[in-house]
Symmetry: C2
Subunit: 365 residues, 2 copies
């Protein structure tokens, strides 16, 4: 539809202009972008090989032969260049004006790659600019929030699909296979990370990989999963019981649920991740289980499943309105079991709105 394309085009131009304003403010002549996530955010290009050079007056996107069709349909705000011998060779050709102070993503570019850039493009003064895009990308537009909402809807539906499959006859990998399958069947591009399905004592390993172990009866199962929808990630965790769950496990479950709800109630824009992490951690410490919550409370979500703002003891900057974070406290009792409950929330000045609708009371199947 004409209208949609024009709206999108304007959004894309707005991002290039925002970047060009940042260039101006930082005293740079150009910016050199090599990371695919930032390139997707800036230009819409979703291929696996690209570099973008943004000057004050225009932008080029370099990719290779494989994407000569795709680049035409996806990129509206940069001039696409097919550079089969690599963009550095292309830049060396002299066809492009490139000198002065050029910013680069020093937190993404390798030491070797910078050395090559410097030796191949001696007229350029490369200026390290770590995290240059983070502030631009952290605040989500309505269009981005809608895509994340869609990704979460898929995850909620996938969770409903897999709940009836949970039984002592299936393995962790079986459930993981179903999650990956239904993600795609419900319209996601793919998993946003490898699903975690961890039964019984394996649930005490917060990042356990699904194994060939059958789901253990009368034990908790931690299920952490997500998908990408039009480039945007979802991420959620539920812990469910198979059979009769011990009263100790139920107690721990309810503590984690209280901690999770406390996190959602307390979160709002303007607060630092450090403070939010502290509120939930202090609660768990008072219950005596603080030392069994060994990871940070959450992380930003967007085009990447882990992005800014982080929600950890080290996150001192205020989280802006329009940012999306996870709230995922957990208690892990080694060699016994683990509990984690996770939603994504959208932060505003007045509070936090969860994306997920999946039930949070302990489900025993």
């Amino acid at each position: 539809m004409q209208e949609t394309s024009e709206t999108l085009l304007m959004a894309d131009q707005a991002r290039i202009h925002a970047l060009q304003n940042e260039l101006q403010a930082a005293g740079l002549d150009a910016f050199f972008i090599t990371n695919l996530t930032e390139i997707r955010w800036l230009t819409g290009f979703s291929g696996s090989n690209a570099s973008v050079l943004v000057r004050k007056d225009l932008a080029w996107l370099f990719t290779d032969f494989r994407y000569q069709e795709q680049v035409k349909s996806e990129v509206k705000n940069a001039i696409p260049i097919i550079a089969n011998d690599g963009f550095i060779t292309e830049l060396k050709s002299g066809k492009y004006r490139l000198d002065g102070q050029v910013g680069f993503q020093s937190d993404k570019i390798t030491v070797s790659f910078l050395e090559k850039l410097k030796s191949d493009l001696p007229d350029v003064d490369f200026v390290p600019k770590p995290a240059f895009f983070e502030n631009l990308m952290m605040v989500k537009t309505p269009d981005e929030i809608e895509k994340m909402q869609k990704a979460v809807e898929i995850s909620d539906k996938v969770f409903e699909k897999i709940l009836p499959l949970i039984s002592p006859d299936v393995t962790e990998l079986d459930i993981a296979a179903e999650i990956s399958y239904w993600n795609k069947k419900f319209g996601a591009e793919k998993d946003s990370f490898d699903p975690i399905v961890a039964s019984g004592p394996r649930g005490a390993m917060p990042h356990a990989k699904p194994s060939n172990q059958k789901l253990l009866p009368n034990q908790l199962i931690v299920i952490d999963m997500g998908c990408y929808y039009q480039g945007y990630a979802s991420d959620q965790t539920r812990t469910v019981g198979l059979g009769k769950i011990s009263s100790e496990a139920k107690k721990i479950y309810n503590l984690v649920l209280q901690a999770h709800l406390l996190g959602i109630e307390s979160a709002k824009a303007g607060m630092s991740g450090k403070i939010l992490d502290e509120i939930v951690r202090n609660f768990l410490t008072k219950t005596g289980y603080g030392s069994y919550f060994g990871h940070s409370l959450g992380h930003g979500v967007g085009l990447e499943v882990h992005e800014q703002p982080h929600v950890s003891r080290r996150s001192v900057a205020p989280m802006p309105a329009g940012s999306v974070i996870t709230i995922e406290p957990g208690i892990y009792l080694p060699e016994q079991f683990g509990v984690r409950i996770e939603d994504m929330v959208l932060l505003s000045e007045s509070g936090a709105t969860p994306f997920q609708k999946s039930a949070k009371q302990l489900i025993e199947v």
Copy 2:
């Protein structure tokens, strides 16, 4: 089983010793490894956060709380350290002797990360060592070849499972969902890359992402897929016909098949990737379709689905015996269709042995 664990332990020790010998030869006091693939190859650790410091006398593996259980079962040849505030803070504590010439993976570490290392560990002289592991990792051990064989067996079985599902009633994404599903059901950890399922004109985009488009009747479909088994990747492409395929498409199919078989016949250890790429490219150029083969002939496969040795115009080093490469010529006619046929082969002095068993004659379903 006792015997297996001891054999594995010896293999692990051999890798640490090989690295320590390289240190000696390079005049280094230690080596600092930050990339997870190399860490898995060296220590067996498969978690998502680790750094390894190898000194001439011992090795440490730093990870975080989440992996305190996993690290015990996986790592036998390095001392595991749980460093919840990051390994740099841990190293700064003074508990570890660390000075002199320390090599680092300059082709993997970012510019910002190196700056942080240098400022936090001022007594260390960091020495850039790009591609330090490539020669060590390129030649596969029998154990590694066995795992890759198993990964390929899974892919062959998955291909058999999806062939009967191909019909005008299903979308590209439906087939991709089945591929991801059956990978896991047959025992793979996950896809080694996002499956490509590209029907008709979409097949002319060598890296098309599966879409909601139904499979087009009387058209070719490019299916490129792979999985990880115990960390090792498979990668294969077949192009199949749905319904009645035009004689032009059949002609192109047979040219690509000839090119693919020529590649397998010609490949052997000691040859450079450049020469092998040239042999196949010259054949396609003589048929008049050379300009429609825009990517390189192949790439190494191992713990990563794309690794050394590359098989491209720029790969001048001889490929060693025991390395595994793909041979994947293609012809892509824009807005019409594409054909690609890909196997993995093991190189020896006498030739190349394909891993895949899936049929290569055009299948019309």
